[in-house]
Symmetry: D2
Subunit: 134 residues, 4 copies
């Protein structure tokens, strides 16, 4: 993950639930996407920004898968804000089981009301919070 030391980051722990597996025997790749969103939720909540959900559509998501995860394993999902743009935020994430990296990737969100076709600039207080400035 890119190191941008001053920007907010956080690790959450989740378990590979039975419903996260598929008939391959290991995790289904959709589980990564949900865990990343869980980590984002805790990160934004820690910044007082959980109210943004519903107005921050995802505009980009990419992920590289490196290892399988198995039922019952605990996974650490690290997420970091790596760029705060005028109308967007870029996160990078890493999903690990112990020392083994299972997935890395990035997620870009923007701000837009559900009924608006266009992204809007972050309000000043939101932008300040996203940048980790208190």
């Amino acid at each position: 993950m890119t190191a941008v030391e001053s920007l907010p980051r956080l690790i959450v722990r989740r378990t590979v639930e039975w419903a996260d597996t598929d008939a391959s025997g290991h995790h289904h790749h959709g589980a990564i996407l949900r865990w990343v969103e869980s980590a984002e939720t805790e990160l934004l909540t820690s910044l007082g920004l959980s109210g943004l959900f519903g107005r921050i559509p995802r505009v980009h998501y990419d992920v590289d898968y490196r290892s399988r995860l198995w039922f019952g394993q605990e996974v650490d999902v690290e997420i970091a804000i790596v760029h705060v743009g005028d109308r967007s935020v870029r996160y990078e994430f890493e999903v690990r089981a112990g020392e083994v990296v299972a997935a890395t990737g990035s997620l870009v969100i923007t701000m837009a009301s559900p009924d608006s076709p266009k992204a809007e600039p972050w309000p000043d207080d939101v932008r300040t919070a996203l940048a980790g400035i208190r």
Copy 2:
């Protein structure tokens, strides 16, 4: 989407189910990932290769989101094989509601038994089928 006319491609239609929505009011982005997999399933099935599932872990997935999708909408999910490597396949996909493009992206898979840490070369008959050669 990249046009590689001679390689296999296919369109499947799915509906935005209630369970595909979230509290934003529109689709959750995980729905795209599942629809892409549904299209991949039908594509591989059409090539006689549905038996590969369980031995074709995903190694990369990226997606750009361009429009919201709403409960009850019908979506067309187009998937195309754009590259057949020695040990991998790259797909590109596009998800549309009518003329509106909701998402585009790519997916890379490889071949590996669930208990193997390493990718294996495609067997000759699989590779031929993936390349659309009958």
Copy 3:
């Protein structure tokens, strides 16, 4: 399923997607719940009532599982309204793969705005439509 011939009923077809399976090798039981909702969606839509979604919380769901379903199978999901109460509707459903019954059960919904703690009576036109009277 209970036969109430005059009340609305409908069958939808869905496929056992890869994401519907778990590490047992067959379908995860949560897939049944989603398919039942898909059938309910098409039933209410056929009655001109798709706009109810979001205001019809589920109050009861029960299901008996009788057979496993496997990746790629087509399933027929039959749903029938079997009782229209003052403030509720009871559905019965059956999920089949060919002649094999995989699950049967019932679902009860009521009508309540997301911000209301209490069920409300069906408006007259909704109740008439639910009863299959045109």
Copy 4:
């Protein structure tokens, strides 16, 4: 919940994730089913029986929904074994947000290999563990 004091029981805590919501604004009812399975997983794991997963198909599930759950809420999922039969186990569960009960219900599982059409009796050591006898 039925009180059978000597039988195993356990409470797990989960969060209402964004992906657990739907366009009603509150939780989708499929989330309850997954949380119950998470609680079952921890219960069986605490009994040394997590290896049963994949060989314990669900045969019955019923649930009554009593309150809505909202994004970000923490939920306590209590599960208890209430009956150990020759070839089955019956659990009862309750999902609460603080003091508010959101759902109650029961789940019945049996034991059967994925390739067997019939339930098998629990092995003696499994039955003893399920009964909470150490």
